[in-house]
Amino acid sequence: MYSLFTVKAEAAPRRIPFFSQAVKAGFPSPASDYVEAVLDFNDLLAADRATTFVLRAEGESMTGAAIFPGDYLVVDRALVARPEDVVIAALDGEFTVKRLRRRAGRFELAAENPSYPPVAVDESSELSIWGVVTYVIHGLRATGRPR
């Protein structure tokens, strides 16, 4: 059948809530009035999407912070680092995962591993802190881990 005019709806949004799919026959879903947005992990992990970046950990484990090689580190660069934060530090031209500590009124970048000595941070080297690690994404399955 041909019609002169076709009224077309706007393009559908990309993320489609699971329950909104049309029911072909029978009663419409009684839950359709209660459809809410799907959970988006960005809401949880990236409070500020403009300043949140992802890096990948390598090297030895940082068991105190539950960080293991291959983990994804969610880093917010807008945050001001506070004592006990895990941070990404740019040291000797390399990104390093450290914990910011305060000892005797001074800041230092401490390694979990006692064989690395802590690095003192003074006001002038504040820029050596690249960002604050806010979340760690650690896959649990030995095989079939995504990517």
């Binding site: 041909y2 706007e10 990948r56 390598e58 030895e60 940082m62 390093t96």
Partner: protein, 428 residues
């Protein structure tokens, strides 16, 4: 009115440094498509006296001697960092116009914070949160803000205010000083004044922005049209060019690129045309539009002496406005076959989608046979590409080993847009 222009300094080169702390103080240059010329430089590289636009082969010795880090253009990285800067600005300022990949105009009136402290904070938030240096010019109009931003670039504070209300006590300038700044600004350095106009302006005795500001309105309107008159009024501090926070849908979508090497085979050109059409079609869908025509254009290298030269183009019209990739690719391939000539080595192919109309207000033909399955298929294909990458599913799969793409030999990783390219941090 108080307007600010935020400009990212040496944007491409600065982006290359964000994930490379080892490059913090090293000179960095970024190359054009096909690694031809130097198109962007860090401050350290500029200080070495490397001229912008110089071909790579001419600068090779200097780059090696000075230990300059050289990069191919990594558009995926630049586009993502640009989006972050613009998102940050928009989250703070209600009216912001993205003017280019590295510039945005902000409307600063009626905000709770005074313009200069606000701009100072924006600079440090972008520097800290995204890792990019910016300069900001503040002025009563867009044209003046652009001039102020150029000045700001040379100041350590990266901030310059021109004209009264914005200024405040600190770095503000009085009326006479605006004139002094305009007197030092060549007329071709004024936003919107094309360098081709320099000759005609000079005849009239106009060489500086100040002389243009004080030109006769009637003369300006006659020779530079109404657009020119608006620029002149803006130089006088009268807002005449509005901030545009919602750019209109594009009139046409172009996808074109030079090949990494000359291409003579029809098969290879068909692949390239399929690829460019897919890129253009993705933009078309993203803005919710349909197109009616596809222009195809191809050319040999103009700069290759002694080789036969040819360039040709054609327009193919679709039966119905469409965004359905298989239809677009089929039309584009038809167009290419009709302009292709055997025996030439081609440099570049362009695909241009025109006759753009919104999808929602579409007018259909009398015998509209549009198939709803096409739309469903397009949506599935788009979501597969989103999930598995742009190469996952296309209309014209690339043959293994085809190599006509851009030459990008010094490409940095796509740190922010690919899970396999993330920067690493050593635990220690």
């Amino acid at each position: 009115m108080t307007v600010a222009l935020v400009d990212c300094n040496g944007f491409y080169a600065a982006c290359e440094k964000v994930f490379r702390p080892d490059l913090e103080h090293r000179p960095v240059v970024v190359l054009s498509n096909n690694d031809g010329c130097i198109v962007a430089m860090s401050r350290e590289a500029r200080n070495l006296g490397i001229p912008r636009g110089i071909p790579l082969f001419k600068a090779r010795n200097l780059l090696d001697r000075e230990n300059v880090a050289v990069f191919s253009s990594n558009y995926a990285l630049y586009a993502d960092l640009s989006r972050r800067v613009m998102d940050l600005l928009r989250s703070r300022i209600p009216l912001a116009e993205v003017y280019s990949i590295d510039e945005a105009f902000l409307q600063l009136d009626h905000l709770p914070e005074a313009p200069l402290p606000l701009c100072r904070r924006l600079r440090s938030d972008i520097r800290r949160g995204i890792g990019l240096p910016t300069s900001i010019g503040v002025a009563p109009t867009k044209v003046l803000a652009k001039i102020a931003a150029g000045r700001a670039k040379r100041l350590p504070g990266g901030l310059f205010a021109l004209g009264e209300p914005a200024a405040g006590a600190e770095s503000g300038l009085g009326e006479a000083d605006v004139a002094a700044v305009l007197a030092e600004t060549p007329v071709t350095g004024v936003w919107g004044i094309a360098s081709g106009l320099a000759g005609r302006l000079k005849e009239k005795g106009i060489g500086s922005a100040l002389e243009l500001r004080d030109a006769d309105d009637a003369w300006v309107k006659r020779h530079l049209t109404l657009t020119g008159l608006r620029i002149v009024w803006e130089l006088r501090g009268i807002p005449s060019i509005a901030l545009d926070d919602a750019p209109p849908a594009k009139k046409g979508i172009m996808s074109s690129r030079s090949f990494g090497r000359p291409v003579a085979e029809l098969n290879e050109l068909l692949e390239a045309v399929g690829d460019y059409t897919a890129r253009a079609a993705a933009k078309l869908r993203a803005q919710g539009s349909l197109c009616r025509h596809i222009d195809i254009w191809l050319t040999t290298d103009r700069f290759r002496p002694g080789e036969p030269r040819y360039s040709g183009g054609t327009a193919v019209s679709l039966d119905d406005a469409s965004d359905y990739l298989p239809d677009l690719v089929a039309a584009a391939r038809r167009g290419l076959r009709s302009v292709f000539r055997e025996g030439y080595r081609y440099k570049k192919v362009a695909v241009f989608l025109s006759g753009i109309e919104p999808r929602s207000g579409r007018q259909t033909g009398l015998f509209d046979d549009s198939d709803p399955r096409k739309d469903a298929l397009s949506r599935v294909a788009a979501s597969l590409r989103e999930r598995f990458g742009p190469e996952a599913l296309g209309c014209v799969p690339r043959r293994p080993g085809s190599d006509w793409d851009m030459r990008r030999e010094c490409l940095s990783p796509r740190y922010t847009t690919s899970w396999t390219d993330l920067a690493t941090a050593r635990i220690g």
